[in-house]
Amino acid sequence: MPGSVQSARPLADIIRELKDRHESAANFRLIFDRYYGQVFRYFQRKGVAPEDCRDLAQETFLAAYTGLPTLEHEEHFEGWLFGIARNTFRNELDRKLAHKRAGVHVIPIKSKEPAADSLAGEIEDRSPATDVMKGILDRERFERLTAAFREMPRQMRRCLELRVVEDSSYQDIATIMGISINTVKVHLHKAKKELQQKLSPYFARLEV
């Protein structure tokens, strides 16, 4: 980074001195050099224009400088700085949204039946007199699926949950699980195969 001053001093020491307002500017420069790129890239990855990234980065570091005396644990500085950058971005988003019109236009959506919040709710709502067999089948399918779930390796199961329940992208699953996208794909492929093998009499088609 051009003009940056790298320091071998531990970050916690620099922050402690800063909190005591000792050599404030010089010490804060060290922090600035170390984290400016990170803060700038955060806004950039959020789709903010480069000129605005500079402004938001300035706001973030100004708020960090002002708020440093309130930081309780020096070793949590990076998380604390991230919190400030996140709030700065959200405030900017709120400010932009506030400029938009006050009302919304209602556009009808396609027919949608009231969704059951959970499988249990769906089963309870069903009248036993009219749908006893369906209820029994649902319960059995649920038990089979839960059993198959328990037997699955933990990481594979979690990938499947994130994909099916949360509709997360492969990239997001990889980030959340701390694994590569390829590993996510392999897990999902194996999970699908495994479920198909164990549950084919109960589920006609499993789309993962």
Binding site: E75, H76, G83, E161
Partner: protein
């Protein structure tokens, strides 16, 4: 065996997950997510946080944000020395050099000129004040007129838009006298707007609105409905949007990671013969 839709499978997996994965518990702070992302945790702690993530949408969002923050990348296209200079100006008072003599002379000249012009400005100001008072009065009248003829979209006003004030069920309003049901009578071809009175509702943005038929069928929903400065929600309906009948509008707020229903508004739409709109 019926064909399984993705939605059905989702419901089964969600229910199974709740049996297998422990409930998320208290959310860890940002620092923990940075450590998680950088894999600086013990295997036990890493496993605990991963289990939390699978069940906690708010923390998943935080972690994805942390990745945007912590992942390495190219140097920013900014001159860091210049950026530091700009910040330095804001965090520490600028050291002032003593001004040269010509600057003092120029300042004296400016002060003298300012003195002379002040008298002239003072006279002008008296006249302006009287006019300003009249202008403020006019603005107040204009605001009142605007309030009375409020349209949902300021950027695209529709002069033929019919407006209906709707109050939440259970409030002491004129709608209560009518069984908490607001009657909306419009010609079938006319657009209209509902002003959902939200004055007494708590501030829990972002707000969502779900419009349902009496049967429970959802015909419209939005997760980001803005609230105006009076606390109301303005919804504009295009001509021919709905058939005659009764509808419920549920307004939701957001409290932490939970969506909370703030109010229900009940309306009954009826068609009047009316003049077709052009």
């Amino acid at each position: 065996m019926p064909d399984e839709t993705r939605e059905t499978l989702r419901q089964y997996v969600q229910a199974a997950r709740e049996e297998v994965e422990p409930a998320p518990g208290e959310c860890p702070g940002n620092a923990a997510w940075i450590d998680y992302h950088r894999k600086r945790l013990s295997p036990e702690e890493y496993e605990r946080l991963q289990s939390h993530l699978v069940r906690c949408p708010a923390c998943r969002e935080t972690l994805l944000d942390v990745a945007d923050f912590a992942d390495p990348g190219e140097d920013p296209p900014a001159d860091i020395d210049r950026e530091w200079g700009a910040l330095r100006e804001r965090i520490s008072p600028r050291r002032r050099a003593s001004a040269p003599a010509w600057q003092w002379a120029a300042a004296a000249g400016v002060i003298l000129t300012a003195g002379l012009t002040t008298t002239w400005i003072w006279r002008l100001q008296n006249t302006l004040n009287a006019e300003r008072t009249a202008l403020v009065r006019l603005e107040e009248q204009l605001r009142e007129l605007r309030r009375q003829t409020l349209v949902a979209r300021a950027d695209n006003p529709q002069t033929n838009l019919r407006l209906f004030d709707v109050f939440p069920a259970g409030t002491e309003t004129r709608s209560r006298a009518e069984g908490a049901l607001t009657r909306v009578t419009v010609p079938p071809t006319a657009p209209f707007a509902l002003i959902l009175s939200g004055g007494g509702l708590p501030r829990l943005p972002p707000y969502g609105v779900v419009l349902k038929e009496a049967s429970g069928r959802v015909i419209w929903e939005s997760d980001s409905v803005p609230r105006d400065d009076r606390g109301n929600f303005v919804l504009t309906f295009p001509a021919g949007f709905a058939t005659e009948g009764e509808y419920d509008l549920d307004v939701f707020g957001t409290s932490g990671s939970n969506r909370r229903r703030l109010a229900r508004y009940s309306i009954s739409i009826g068609f009047s013969p009316g003049r077709p709109d052009h």
